[in-house]
Symmetry: C2
């Protein structure tokens, strides 16, 4: 009987230890006192996009999912299929109705979207913007590429390719703010840092492969000495590549494009496009989820200091860019 008692006591002791240990880790009343950063699998964070089939969003979603796996929370992906304000408002309304733990949204810039975002924020749902800014929204942070700096990076790469001398042209989307910024960063840097390179023309490629192909043909006809073209988006990059192939100017005109869709990467492998500016799409999704998690769990200075006036999350994150060339292009194909 004595032996049995010892065994019972050991059994009870181990059990108590087990429960205590489990309790300690699983039920932090206050996340600041928890050991490690971890949520509940029932917490659902939603990523909302427009033109929801775009390759670019897939990389952002991968980052969002990777962060969720680390933090033991769930994610959903919802998007407007088109570039359509009303469709995105509807999608966002549906997401809000489910009261998720947080929303990361890349939004069409419009007052209606800003109003709907503010409805979520006012209702206590954490919201973070990524990739594109929405003036007038009450979202807590903005995670994106600094487009002016991306243009600066493109300018330095162009100067490297041209041995710091020559004539260059820019093909862009004239009415879009982020493309204006890319163009300004490029042109300012060429003018400021490379006296022997001249920006001879800036034309509108309309974000379209064929329009950009045509524009590139005209540039090469009007400026026969042009030795570089910077194009601020990927469709145009492919069109310009086609024009250069047609004119048999591969290697004579260096093309720097933007982003890393498959057709761009293929043209880099082929040597038609010399370089492309890759954005930190994965980081946009990854850090958006971290930020939303911090808001959801009150893991901010405001909470510690009990100071409603003090800002909580960082205001802006520049996820940076990298330059894709033939040397590293293999790394950028989807795994």
């Amino acid at each position: 009987m004595k032996k049995l008692m010892i065994v019972y006591m050991l059994l009870i002791g181990t059990f108590v230890l087990y429960v205590y240990n489990t309790h300690l880790r699983d039920s932090p009343a206050n996340a600041w006192n928890a050991q490690g950063l971890q949520g509940e699998i029932t917490e659902t964070y939603v990523m909302v996009t427009f033109q929801s089939g775009m390759d670019f969003w897939k990389s952002s979603l991968k980052g969002f999912e990777d962060a969720a796996q680390l933090l033991n929370v769930s994610v959903e992906y919802r998007g407007a299929t088109q570039y359509d304000v009303q469709e995105q408002v509807t999608v966002l309304e549906q997401v809000i109705a489910k009261n998720p733990a947080g929303i990361a949204i890349t939004a069409i810039n419009s007052p209606e979207i800003a109003d709907t975002i503010n409805k979520a924020v006012d209702g206590g749902i954490p919201v973070v913007l990524f990739d594109s800014q929405v003036p007038g929204s009450k979202a807590s942070a903005f995670v994106s590429t600094n487009n002016y700096n991306a243009g600066v990076t493109a300018a330095h790469e162009m100067a490297r390719l041209l041995d710091q001398a020559g004539e260059v042209a820019v093909v862009t989307l004239e009415n879009q703010l982020n493309h204006q910024e890319r163009t300004a960063g490029f042109a300012d840097t060429i003018r400021g840092s490379y006296p022997d390179i001249r920006v001879v023309t800036v034309v509108d490629g309309k974000g379209d492969r064929l329009a950009s192909k045509e524009a590139a043909g005209e540039i090469m006809a009007n400026y026969p000495d042009v030795s570089g073209i910077f194009v601020t988006e990927a469709n145009g990059g492919v069109g310009i590549g086609e024009a250069i192939r047609l004119e048999k100017k591969i290697g004579d005109v260096q093309v720097i494009s933007f982003d890393t869709d498959k057709r761009t990467l293929d043209m880099i492998e082929e040597g038609i496009i010399s370089a492309s500016i890759a954005q930190g799409a994965w980081n946009m999704g990854y850090w958006s989820l971290h930020f939303l998690f911090h808001l959801q769990h009150d893991l901010t200075e405001q909470q510690i200091m009990e100071s409603p006036g003090i800002s909580t999350l960082p205001q802006y994150v520049d996820t940076g860019v990298t330059v894709v060339t033939k040397a590293n292009v293999k790394n950028y194909y989807a795994q």
Copy 2:
């Protein structure tokens, strides 16, 4: 005996469950497969500063410590006592010699410091810069206030205080980049957005209370209609406050200062300083630790994709600013 066997089996079963459960949580071979974000208490992250007694660093260190507590890792604080390049190099060398898990440094801008930082990076120690940039360093990210935007915020606050009309002056530190940026953000915004406000003069307060007090006296003598002064650092703010008290112009000249040291907060309570621009010092430390932890544990896209060309951390984080006024000043006193 049968009963005893059952008890033994239960005992062994519970024990196995306990060990399995503990093992699952404590020894993730790969952090990406772990449940929750958590390090080891033996991992030591070091914050390195100059003028190590400054109040501002205390807030940053608090954020650094709060993040470490969440992630179950350790921190140390080391700093050069003076604004002295050689002293900071020595401190940094000592920190590197201990091979810490990561270094967050606010550094004096000098090639020697950049070289020492690069020694750490080349030796495999993650390094993140906060508050001040060091051109030429290989640090993985930079976390700071966007000083131009801070100047923009100050301009809008000044316009609000002056009902969008009047003469204003700026007192700054002429040779410091971050102060030039604050001044430019302020002046550009006033010129661009407020046609009835005029920036009448920009003078050097030398970062000094007495020099700034004297400068403010001269401004009020030379421009008797001046109704606002923006000062880009805290010592000058106190000096200007003293000049205004001396001239009995409290309320007639609105002062907007920078940062939240105790003398500034006291003058806001007193009504001599109308507002101050508070930086996100806590967030600088907090997110620096998160970034270092991510590098130390290979929690970056590069690691997932096995793609050495792809950027890992976001390049830049703007921690943002908030405006301190009489209405919320109580929240900013050290707790």
